[in-house]
Symmetry: C2
Subunit: 376 residues, 2 copies
């Protein structure tokens, strides 16, 4: 299999790595955090502002985009990048996860899954072949295999059956994807928290061959200890020279723990969703801006943060506009949160490059312990 | 009376004038449109973006700010400019209009008005003296007299009584405002659509003496013809060397008609509110972006508009994000609308300065008649 994109590891520190994933639309510095742009927008942000935070790549959701505005329509309009005014790389998920969590009246079989749209009630179908087609129509740079993701906890037998279905779908995804220079296809390891299943899944994917390897089916209720338990061995079972992507993760300390264990890519709605619900994430923990104690606080969210929110606005103002239901509250808090996440990733990359990741993590944890803020 | 701010008229064309209102926080080029920043934010916009559209001055609402976060709190936090990160001029209304339109359980007397907050049900009081105090606490650059504004149509007797109460309140406002160099106090002409009452009101205000003269009580249901009927004589009854401000107006053709009749300043929620409800205002009329005919339209809202929305986004995208309820829809449409309004004001100023206002207005009307868009 010819590799669709180039991945170069520049430095290592323990199991952690830093490098660059090269795509025709620009480089992705790893470890990377991908803001989520579900419906062709990173909620409450203009794309140039997302870029200003330091993001190299966005995640788009196949499930949402196929339902509205529709993949064929996006293709006719010139593809997702042009549609949403983001010319840098986009990774799209396969739709599998959201079908399970959002759609109604699912009917799952070997061939794929039929479901009713949560938007307008229309019937839709997803399969490995259709997911590859949709992601191609969108113009995705990094395409994810179509998989099934059971919620945890689940019976080991059910997890095993689901994982093996996902592996057969991975093979069909690989065949349907074909050879697309400049575009990457990532496989997704499943298998819950059972080591034998995870390793079986990793072996199956390696036998097929992918441009990158994602770890799916975590951060779905198993807890951080169980997640780290999987990450203690799973990255080592994946090809050393290919990027590893931990899907849907996570909180800042989840990301640090993932990087320490050899993960290269992350995505999560937490910084954007928290921004809209009034929770700012900072190096010293969370600030719940709706709390009355912020009503007259003249301090910024984080005095050492250089984001536009912290440079120009006091907590008292953010409290006021959040309580008043003003859109600027979501705009400013989301910007801060995404800025904080990208600062964290930049810090991790620099620390790995300079061989001081241990010290960086110790400082990260000390700052979190120091504040009187709530833990994230 | 010493004038609180300097107003220089640079050029005239018919009854229209262009000039500059100088304040310590910056100059206001007239004719000026003031975006409305009700609750210490121009909804869905960052203040630097509002400035980028060309706005010299914002309007803040005393009624909303006194209820939340409270004028004393804003003062303790350093004033409204610092609070909302807008260092340029701010005009605040007096609270009178919103008390009548938004508050519950009003009790109106000679002294002032008591009312129940629509936010939390608490009882509040406004009077000329308290309104002046609140606007001082906010740090307003241009303060409006406290007045009463009856909805039209109303009995002439009621309009006359209300106007005379407003004139007594104007005198108390003037006394309570005192002498504040660098800050302006504007009187407000009332009197409905009755010429004798309007002229009586104008004379009463001139006898007191103000830094500027507002025309209140229009755009409250009387229709454009009746409004223009008042504007045909009223500006001429006001001091030639002081700015004239038509409150709460309006649609683009209302503004053009006001400028033609000698008005210098305007404010209206239309561009911001329309932005949030999916209506774009363009030189060719309105674009209702939720209309299905825009679903696959690759054109910008206005091909000749240089705003960030028109430069980078197609109608198809705006339709999609509006239908999906995404915040970016309000952000982009509001930006476009405010940009369009400021472009219109800049065009009017240039046309007056160059003695070609008649041609400018003819082109303005021809463009609006040309499109297949809905009239604004």
């Amino acid at each position: 299999m010819a590799s669709g994109v180039d991945f170069r590891i520049a430095a290592r520190d323990g199991r952690a790595r830093t490098g660059v994933l090269e795509t025709p639309r620009g480089e992705i510095r790893t470890p990377a955090f991908m803001p989520v742009g579900t419906a062709a927008t990173v909620k409450a942000m203009l794309p140039e502002s997302v870029r200003a935070t330091g993001a190299d790549v966005l995640l788009g959701n196949t499930y949402h985009l196929m339902l509205r505005p529709g993949a064929e329509r996006v293709a006719r309009l010139g593809g997702l990048h042009r549609f949403m005014n983001w010319e840098r790389p986009i990774l799209t998920d396969s739709g599998g996860f959201q079908v399970m969590s959002l759609a109604e009246l699912r009917k799952l079989g070997e061939e794929g899954v039929s479901f009713r749209s949560h938007v307008d009630g229309a019937m839709h179908h997803l399969s490995p072949e259709r997911s590859m087609e949709i992601q191609r129509l969108l113009g995705s740079d990094i395409v994810m295999c179509f998989d099934e993701c059971p919620a945890l906890p689940a019976e080991e037998k059910a997890v095993a059956a689901s994982m093996r279905l996902s592996m057969r779908w991975a093979e069909r995804s690989r065949a349907a994807f074909g050879d697309r220079p400049g575009h990457a296809l990532f496989g997704i390891v499943q298998g819950g928290v059972t080591r034998e299943l995870r390793e079986e899944s990793a072996e199956a994917l390696k036998a097929i061959g992918f441009d990158g390897y994602a770890i799916g089916g975590l951060a779905v209720g198993e807890g951080q200890a169980a997640m780290f338990g999987v990450l203690d061995y799973l990255p080592g079972a994946l090809p050393e020279d290919r990027p590893r992507y931990l899907m849907g993760v996570g909180k800042p300390d989840d990301i640090v723990g993932g990087v320490l264990r050899g993960v290269d890519m992350f995505d999560c709605v937490l910084p954007t969703r928290s921004g809209r619900t009034g929770q700012a994430l900072t190096r010293r923990g969370a600030v719940n801006i709706k709390n009355a104690r912020h009503a007259e606080d003249p301090r910024p969210l984080d005095p050492d943060c250089a984001c536009p929110c912290c440079r120009s606005y006091e907590r008292a103002y953010l409290h006021h506009v959040f309580k008043a239901g003003e859109i600027i509250a979501a705009m400013l808090l989301t910007w801060h949160n995404l800025h904080y996440y990208q600062e964290l990733m930049a810090g991790l990359r620099a620390a790995i490059a300079e061989g001081r990741l241990g010290r960086f993590v110790a400082e990260f944890e000390a700052l979190r312990a120091e504040g009187d803020l709530e833990p994230v």
